[in-house]
């Protein structure tokens, strides 16, 4: 039994006691955040938009997915299919999303400057170029920072994927950094005390650790160590949370798990839905393996199929539960892949034009914005920068995309850098 038993007074009492113990043990007070906003831990906002981002790592080919070029050499081996939107075709491995095209906003004219994975992913997540002198906050962290957490105990932001490479909270308060989960099927691991360890003993241990740490913390006071204090406190609070069931997709019936697809992305989307339902504001689900420099058609059909199943099911599921109106779903990647097929039957990096998809809260359904040229090489009209794309997402969430914040180094920053929202894909 991994998670708390059914709702009971015991659990409530335990949660409070644990919360108190955590504060006492670490001498915490509500930490002021960088921009003067009270700690997100105490500040929750029940409403507002949630964001689920599906991040395709490795650069998803645009021609084989949302921007096919039927009849041309560039199309390669992927066929194309009609969608619910008249005149608009998708790659053949997206039948379910094709059927939902009238609920989507598809952007086919994204363009970026960098063809390197690390820099491109950083740019997509933060709207800023990767620099040595500062770490920018990821979009999800901005959203939690500006809109607040929805839940007291649950994190505001969860990443199903690799935390190492994620910009995280950047210069914002560590409270808004995403909690990284490795495997959706395993959820949040090590969340319960081992059976032999009583609650009382656990708290004794925490208190003792804190006492022994006194000298070290005095000598090395500062942000670096404070971040660790914050993690400890958040971990303890999470252990006592009554909402941990949200992390456990084993509680879903098999049929549901099948519908999302048994892939990591599929189960990750299911987890994302559960988390958003339970009060997590932002979830990012990574899917790797898109960097298909060779033998593209060996791997691509399977991968695109996983995406189709997972994303379509997620949208339908959110809709059925009445959550799609308050949840924005984003499909993004760092750049596209070359229309020209290379010597190894693959496609190389192509920053000049690529595609992304939005759906849900704040988004106008059934819209295709921008186009690439006949060969899928360059934007033909309505080129959209990565910053513009993120500004659009910010606007859909009701975030102050035009506001200038001041970072700790005194420099001004905006949620989406210099981006401007694309009115054509927004309802508001």
């Amino acid at each position: 039994m991994r998670f708390s038993p059914a709702i009971s007074d015991d659990r409530l009492a335990r949660r409070t006691f644990l919360g108190k113990a955590a504060r006492a043990a670490f001498g915490l007070t509500l930490l002021e955040s960088v921009t003067g906003r009270a700690s997100a831990a105490a500040d929750t906002a029940a409403g507002g938009v949630n964001v689920i981002t599906l991040m395709m790592r490795g650069a998803m080919s645009h021609i084989d997915t949302f921007d096919p070029k039927p009849g041309r050499e560039e199309q390669g081996e992927t066929g194309s299919i009609a969608t619910k939107l008249s005149g608009i075709r998708f790659g053949e491995h997206l039948p379910r999303l094709a059927g939902l095209a009238d609920r989507l906003a598809i952007i086919r004219s994204l363009t970026t400057e960098t063809g390197a994975h690390e820099q491109g992913t950083y740019l997509m997540r933060t709207s800023y170029p990767q620099l040595n002198s500062i770490r920018h906050p990821s979009f999800g962290s901005w959203a939690v920072h500006a809109l607040g957490k929805r839940s007291g105990d649950l994190p505001g932001y969860v990443l199903v994927g690799n935390g190492n490479e994620h910009p995280g909270c950047g210069f914002l308060d560590p409270a808004v950094t995403p909690v990284p989960l490795a495997d959706p099927a395993r959820g949040l691991e090590n969340i319960t005390r081992p059976g032999y360890l009583t609650q009382a003993n656990f708290e004794r241990r925490l208190a003792l650790a804190d006492r022994i740490d006194h000298d070290f913390k005095q000598r090395y006071a500062g942000r670096q160590i404070e971040a660790y204090d914050r993690m400890y406190a958040d971990a303890v609070r999470l252990m006592g949370s009554g909402d941990l069931a949200a992390f456990d997709i084993a509680r879903e019936d098999d049929k549901t798990r099948e519908r999302y697809g048994r892939s990591r992305l599929g189960q990750g989307c299911l987890l994302a839905r559960r988390l958003v339902e339970s009060g997590v504001r932002c979830v990012e689900v990574e899917m790797r393996g898109w960097d298909m420099h060779r033998d593209l058609w060996e791997d691509l059909p399977g991968k695109v199929g996983e995406l189709d199943t997972a994303m379509a099911t997620l949208l339908e599921d959110l809709d059925a539960r009445g959550l799609l109106g308050s949840t924005l779903v984003v499909l993004a990647t760092e750049f596209g892949r070359s229309p020209k097929i290379n010597e190894n039957a693959g496609r190389d990096h192509h920053p000049a034009v690529f595609s992304a998809v939005l759906a849900g809260a704040g988004v106008k359904p059934g819209v295709v914005h921008g186009a690439s040229d006949a060969g899928g090489r360059l934007p033909d009209r309505d080129a959209v920068s990565v910053a513009d794309f993120n500004a659009t997402i910010a606007a859909a969430c009701g975030l102050p995309w035009e506001k200038e914040f001041v970072a700790p180094n005194g420099r001004p920053f905006k949620i989406a850098n210099d981006g401007k929202p694309i009115a054509a894909v927004l309802t508001g």
Binding site: A182, Y196, N201, H214
Partner: protein
Amino acid sequence: MIGLRRTRSSLAVAMAAVAFTGACLAANRAKPARAAPRSGLPAAVTTPPTGPVMKVAAVDAGRRSRVHAEAAEIDVHLAARWQEHAVEPSPPLDDAQFVRRIHLELAGRIPTYEETVAFLRDTASDKRDQLIERLLASSDYVSHFYNYWADVLRLSERPQKNLLFEPYLAWVKDSIRTNRHYDDWVHEMLTADGRLWENPAVGFQLRDDGMPLPYVDNTVRVLLGTQIGCAQCHDHPFDHWTQHQFYELAAFTAGTRTRLGGAVKSAKPGAEAKPVPPPAVRTLVKEARDSKGKKAGALVQFIQANATSVSFRDTALKLPHDYQYDDAKPSAPVERELLWGKVPAGVRNAGGREQLAGWMVSRTNRQFARTIANRFWKKVMGVGLVEPIDDFREENPASDPELLEHLTDLMLRLDFDLREYVRVLVSTSAYQRRAVIHDTTDEQPFRYPGPALRRMTAEQVWDSIVGLIALNPWSVQRPTAVEIANVAGVDLRTATIDDVEQQFDRFVKEYGPGAYQRRLNKVCGYRGQWLLKASEMPAPLPLGHFLRQFGQSDRETIEGGRTVPTIPQTLAMFNGPITHAMLEEGSVVYETVMEHDADETIDIVFLTVLSHEPSPEDRQAAIDELTAADPATGCGNLIWALLNTREFLFIQ
């Protein structure tokens, strides 16, 4: 003096009770608990190793006075800087602080109780030198520096389906073990020919197989600390490198082939020069596909792995077909041109690859020496003189150019002996001072009043914890190139499909998917964890593994390791099985406590986990704990508490 009354058996019973009722530990995972939870630690792990783990090249004790002189030069320089900038140097490390720091620095783990106590009690005036020299010749040194290079070189067992990379991983470790000098080592990596298990150094050229331009980018980044990668597609936006220059450099290695073959197709820009597979290989692949059913895919990959072989023949490189600048026509052939300097006279008539390698490691190419000097300065002091260490640029000058040139000269004088270089650095008095906080976004240059305070790397955390549990953390070692060759090598010119299949079966049994992991489960597995040195683990590890959670790289990005805190890390330390393994009978900390009198327990636990005696306040806190709870539980609480201090994780 506390009247702790406990016998070994009563404590053992109490602790064992603790361990056995930890059947709930299995419940931390989604899978149902195993039928009979493993009780206690595996025998291979609690039995001391019978002999030395590996034979490491000796350290020259006779060089000690030279080392001191070289260290003193650095100290003099830094002292002048401190005065210039009114910087107060940090207090010197006392012995307890030193013994912990130097073990982490050179052996990648905290010292054991015995090591700490022996050092503290040693009265020899040169005990620090002796310890440095001993650690530099230890197998843990090899393991620790292997972890470092694994992160830089992205060492992964199967970076692509056709690459059986274990021999390369083994070769990197072996190069450290034999203290191969850096320039020699690099030169071999840049020019090696053959298959992985015949000549493992080819792994460096194969890491980016199929992507010859990223190969150039990554090589320049790691070896010359220079980022030219943006120039692959267009003139560099921030720096002065043009796309033309990028191609001119790439022209040196354009003739590198990675498949066995005869006739060569003409090289198109950016593509590997793809030879036509020899008839034997084509036939075998066809036979595998046609007749082998479920096995077909894996068998074809095995054949491809055997057909993967590095060779070189000078080939022209052409500019891309969409080259957009005025200085040349698209698809025009490119002349070879270095980023700076000249091809050394000795290799002027050699092939492009030899020319590039000769230039790279030449004494006159100071940037090569400068990059590695800066890289290891950062490793030891926490902050490079140029940061980031792979982004040397005019707009990004060194914080202390004189010192950087001095270190570069030192590296050249030491003939690129990296181990001696490290030996000098850790012998400085600047290094042997308490760590200080350094904010990486601080615009003021760091003046090294002491090394920068850092969290342990994922591997240091892991190896330190495993050292508290396992008397023998080396119960399994990664395969060598010879072991792989025995089960992977096939002579494709003469083999029949049945020969291939036979060897394939042997390979899968030993090193197929999950085979190594199964061996680890059997020998050193404990509640789903392998009680083994990080360097001997499968690479990369899955995302949920403790090491990955603590920031170990997925080995896909250069230097992808991170030391930022996360909630899953904290939970793993609080509640994860690895923390509780040390409370099991047979663990190092358990046995150490049991071997001594009850009234020594507090000191022993502090010395074992934090490498120092408790302060009066700490001692009181510990006494309060041991007297309030029952002693066995109290002891477990004390060990857990020390492990979960922030102090444990940071290198002071």
